[in-house]
Amino acid sequence: MLDNTQVERLDAEAVNSAKVRQPMYAARKKIFPKRASGSFRRFKWLVMAITLGIYYLTPWLRWDRGPFAPDQAVLLDLANRRFYFFFIEIWPQEFYYVAGLLVMAGVGLFLITSTVGRAWCGYTCPQTVWVDLFLVVERAIEGDRNARMKLDAGPWTARKLMLRVSKHAIWLVIGAATGGAWIFYFADAPTLFGDLFTGTAAPVAYVTVAVLTATTYTFGGLMREQVCTYMCPWPRIQAAMLDENSLTVTYNDWRGEPRSRHAKKVQAAGQSVGDCVDCNACVAVCPMGIDIRDGQQLECITCALCIDACDGVMDKLGRERGLISYATLSDYNANMMLATAGGSSSVNPSLIRTADGLFSDKVAHFHIRKIFRPRTYVYMGLWSLIGLGLLYSLLTRDRLEVNVLHDRNPQFVTLSDGSIRNGYTVKLLNMIPEPRTIVVTIQGLQGADMSVVGDDIPAGRSFAIPVEPDRLKMLKVFVRQPADQIHGTAQTFKFRVEDKASFESDEYTATFNAPETAR
């Protein structure tokens, strides 16, 4: 076991600490996050591998939809206005599914934030993941924190130039790969991949890659934490989303204070000391460059790397982990009350410990029960409700539809035999990637018959017509009713469409107009 004084004190200072509160806007102070290790770091590596894997590999997944539709599992086909997602195909008018998913993502974000704080920011936000990736490159080339600081402060030598150029070059390659992966979602990935390198892809593809390369490089490599602090609205919104039962990365000053680098000396002088040895490990690893010991703050993305750093130090010192931990404000407040004897004194570590140095029973610890509270029930309920609604709607949705537009000008035409004709634009939507024969029938409207412009279909009350796979077929249909069968100036009737093979059908209630003198 090491003594307090044996823990290496890192030369780190928070760029924005309580003591040195910098002006809100100023030239950026460079941050050199130290590599952390521990369970949260491992979890973050895993999340990073999964999220990057999903992003880069998804466009390459194949999904067989037969000969009449693309075989890319996830494809936003903007030219044909179709969205393919595995077994789901979405037409533009069904875009509410995507809107519903976005609402679910929003409510999900509320749920996650109200239970585990800014987990989105700390683990899965693309900004966080790509900055992490860029930092991996930076560390691999320039070394860890101290080496990087030394390099940055040092003069421009050939070595520094070489290191910097290779770092930025690799960043640009990552940026290009990020932009490159993006466009594969909008076209057949293998084809576009080939076209991209032979210079035959659409100009918009190159522009998109260029723009996304630039933004990835700038945001991930150059701006980093500034994006979160200055550009992102979520840090502001999260203040309203957190409550006293939300888990968030917390410095437990009720056991850490008074912090001291020379605990033994202080103790010998008869003063109490907390667990914090003021080693600054938490500050050194922070990608946001803050000091978590200043309490909850806007810049903190709750990446939990300071927990890993602190736990490592506590392990070395043989003390309980969790000086920095995920804690709720209510637990924190209770423990603070305990440590300050109800707020009457400054923090006194002896108040939270028993005689043998263990935590007293009165110290509050997080209980899983706190996740389940009315607020999270509402979020979970809302989330599931929307999810179930979407699922129900998806499973029962029509893949055969008819839309009818009644001619307005003229509303009706009197024919030479006195019968009245109305014109309709009938749109048949075959929403599956298979050719189908659709039977169109009119129901109601005594004695009436239909004819189709441009098709040699004999006039009648029903006709069958082939519709191409995954296409809309527009027909100009004339409906004619003999004068002696007309009852009223506006009669309603139905266009019924049916696929005799699959028994799918749809109906549209239309109006038939006639002049008052027709009868």
Binding site: A26, Q226, L415, S416, G418, R421
Partner: protein, 287 residues
């Protein structure tokens, strides 16, 4: 605001503006923000050099790229013309019936003809081609001069009773007010009205039929079904250009109104007329 005021809590100087004791902190902007701001200024200067921008007394600077929205419109129009080139060529080379029978060509011609119709024809025939009293409805199946695509093309090209076109469609119903007596007009009007099912004074029908046989069959035919060669309307159907009923018929017998349609062939050219013919043919009454 000469003396600088430093905010006690933040240690930041204020702008000197004060509202009810609330002061505005004078924080500097983030450097990247300021840099972006300067970049936009540089960009704007470059932009005004590259593109038309600065107003002069009678014109404006042209910009070194030579861009103008007018030339862009021109190039877009050229591109649009080129895109429909193969359809236009097909319309030029094929007959109207052929065009109407080809799905893609018909679609093109109906769209193009519809646009031309909106410009040239709606003044008389109405925006829905529904016509009005004295101006034929082109949606119905009643054609004075024939409803085949070629016949429609002929009508549009040379017009009707259009004096300056030698090939114009010509028919002239005499003013029977000067030829037969008022009683005979009443009788023949009653007879004609009865042909399309309008119940009339039965005593007029028989003499009316006699008057019709003596005066009208030459053009309108024995069965009053009309004659398209002469543009003589079918008097037995439900469609009346100048109004149905005895009184309207009598007025037309006494002193016929005769509409004139201009010849459009010279003005619009053969291709446009073909497109118009296909459009009119597609309205529902085409034969």
């Amino acid at each position: 605001m000469s003396d600088e005021h430093i905010d006690e809590i933040s240690g930041v100087s204020t702008t000197g503006h004060e509202w009810d004791g609330i002061r505005e902190l004078n924080n500097p902007l983030p450097r990247w923000w300021v840099v972006t701001f300067y970049i936009t200024i540089v960009w704007a200067i470059g932009y005004t050099i590259a593109y038309p921008a600065w107003p002069l007394l009678h014109s404006a600077t042209k910009g070194v790229l030579g861009y103008s929205s007018r030339s862009e419109v021109k190039s877009e129009l050229t591109a649009a013309e080129a895109a429909k080139g193969k359809y236009v060529a097909a319309v030029e080379s094929k007959g109207v019936s052929e065009i109407a029978a080809d799905d893609a060509l018909r679609e093109f011609a109906v769209a193009a003809g519809g646009a031309a119709f909106k410009v040239n024809c709606v003044q008389c025939h109405g925006s829905g081609a529904q016509g009005s009293k004295g101006f034929p409805n082109l949606n119905d199946d009643d054609w004075l001069w024939g409803g085949k695509a070629e016949q429609i093309q002929q009508t549009i090209t040379h017009g009707i009773r259009f004096a300056s076109d030698p090939e114009t469609r010509l028919s002239e119903m005499p003013a029977f007010g000067d030829i037969i007596t008022a009683d005979q007009i009443t009788q023949v009007s009653a007879y004609v009205a009865s042909l399309s099912g309008k119940i009339q004074d039965a005593s007029l029908i028989e003499p009316g039929a006699k008057v019709f046989a003596e005066n009208c069959v030459a053009c309108h035919g024995d069965n009053a079904k009309g004659n398209r060669e002469l543009g003589a309307p079918d008097l037995t159907d439900a469609i009346w250009l100048y109004g149905s009923g005895e009184a309207a018929i009598a007025a037309q017998v006494r002193a016929p109104k005769q509409g004139v349609m201009p010849a459009w062939g010279g003005r619009l050219g053969e291709t446009k007329v073909k497109e118009l013919a296909v459009y009119v043919h597609s309205l529902g009454g085409g034969e």
